[in-house]
């Protein structure tokens, strides 16, 4: 499965599709961190970055999963010994690509976006938030990939509207119906991120796992 994951990543890079997501990421980072945040605003700024990169990560995951022709996916499933392993390899490759972009975002933010390095505890929290953002982007990308939504137009609309619905729902009292990204930002702004992290992380993880389960079910 690792070899198939490497094959998917190599195809994504060699097809140059990776540059689409990379350029979007760099543009977002340049705008978001154009000037350093004042002292004391580190958590808020870093949490905002974790949320705003999610649609780009979803685009990257969708793009990676769509790089391989449908027939090659079938060949890969035969080669690797089953559809389940092929699906898993694709998801791992998508998560890896998203993790690189997410790491780039976090690294840029820490070097150029804040006035001082956050304390270790806060840094670990922000790392966890970026990991959740990576998983959220991977899930949204997988659910809008060609294997699930055959039409490119519908797929793009679903990705954009899916993220907007995530924002709107998570800003409402029904935030528990989605990955509560706005609640991440609010908790960071109010200094409650450390306290609320277990609940927010569990809810985010739950919705990501449900989304991935739907993807696997559609690919069976």
């Amino acid at each position: 499965m690792i070899a198939l994951t490497a094959f998917r990543l190599a195809g994504y890079v060699r097809s140059h599709r990776v540059y689409q997501a990379l350029l979007l990421t760099l543009a977002m980072l340049a705008i978001l961190y154009g000037s350093r945040a004042p002292r004391g605003a580190e958590v808020s700024v870093l949490a905002d970055g974790a949320v705003l990169i999610i649609p780009i990560l979803a685009w990257a995951a969708r793009s990676l999963l769509d790089t391989e022709p449908d027939l090659q996916r079938e060949l890969s499933a035969v080669q690797v010994g089953g559809r389940g392993r092929e699906v898993a390899a694709g998801l791992v490759a998508a998560f890896a690509a998203c993790a690189v972009l997410s790491a780039l975002g976090l690294g840029w933010a820490l070097l150029l976006g804040v006035s001082q390095a956050p304390p270790t505890g806060v840094l670990i929290t922000i790392l966890l938030l970026h990991a959740l953002a990576t998983l959220t982007g991977t899930t949204l990308g997988a659910l809008t990939s060609r294997a699930v939504l055959a039409s490119p137009a519908v797929s793009i609309m679903a990705l954009v509207l899916g993220f907007m619905a995530m924002l709107l729902l998570s800003a409402s009292p029904l935030y528990w119906l989605t990955v509560p990204v706005i609640r991440w930002m609010r908790a960071a702004n109010t200094g409650l991120l450390l306290d609320q992290l277990p609940q927010l992380a569990a809810l985010s993880l739950l919705w990501c796992l449900i989304g991935l389960a739907v993807y696997v079910w559609r690919r069976r």
Partner: protein
């Protein structure tokens, strides 16, 4: 390997593509699968490969290593032939692809991007990736289509070797490329039903045949004539006892 009462449809309420297929495949079998276009041959091959699940019925005893060569290799990938086969070799746990590249006369293709391959050359890549892991079940979808003469000659012996090694070979083939092999089993798909041992469909090149003298060596001829004269010509040939049918319309 056994198929028990296998039926398949792509979606609910759609007609069945495969209907109640029963079959047993044993190590060493070479099976030629025929049927008209759209009969369900490729669907049956996908079921055998494990790429689709039967709607009802079961397929059991599938060998752990399966090789599948599609009728159209997916060339829209950003790799050269070598890079692609290396990746597939790693996926197969380090299987050796080089001997197959040599045997299928692919030496001059190794540095060519997949997207620039001709149909026949791409087909060879598909064959190499299917063969490299010594499959216990080798599935070939129209394996002779587009191949050059040298590779067409060597392919039956490769199939025979896989079978001699205890593998099962099943090929969807309209061109009769495997018929020279001894003890080839003939399957045909007719209206979704899998039948064994029925008469093989005429090959693509066959225009007419003299059935009354089966023991006499046969010959295939192609006749070109105006479209308007086709039906009277076919009727006349059939009236004289020859099998005749239209192959293609040109011009």
């Amino acid at each position: 390997m056994r198929l028990s009462k296998v039926t398949f449809r792509y979606r609910r309420r759609e007609p069945l593509i495969i209907r109640s297929a029963d079959a047993r495949l044993s190590p060493g079998d070479v099976i030629e699968l025929t049927g008209v276009n759209g009969a369900g041959k490729s669907t049956l091959l996908r079921l055998l490969a494990g790429l689709a699940r039967p709607t009802t019925g079961t397929i059991s005893g599938r060998p752990p290593v399966v090789g599948f060569a599609p009728d159209r290799f997916p060339v829209g990938q950003p790799f050269t032939v070598t890079a692609y086969l290396r990746h597939m070799s790693r996926v197969r746990g380090g299987a050796r692809w080089e001997p197959w590249a040599e045997r299928l006369t692919m030496g001059h293709l190794l540095t060519v991007p997949l997207g620039e391959l001709s149909k026949g050359s791409a087909h060879k890549v598909g064959l190499a990736q299917a063969l490299m892991a010594d499959p216990g079940l080798l599935i070939l979808d129209e394996p002779f289509a587009g191949l050059d003469a040298d590779t067409r000659e060597v392919l039956p012996s490769i199939a025979a070797e896989v079978a001699a090694g205890g593998g099962i070979v099943i090929a969807s083939d309209h061109q009769g490329g495997l018929r020279a092999l001894p003890a080839v089993r003939h399957w045909s798909v007719v209206d979704g039903h899998l039948k064994e041992g029925t008469a093989v469909e005429p090959t693509a090149e066959v225009a007419d045949r003299a059935p009354a003298v089966a023991a006499v060596p046969q010959v295939t001829v192609a006749v070109t004539l105006p479209v308007g004269e086709l039906q009277p010509f076919l009727a006349r040939m059939r009236g004289e006892g020859y099998q005749a049918r239209e192959i293609e319309e040109t011009g």
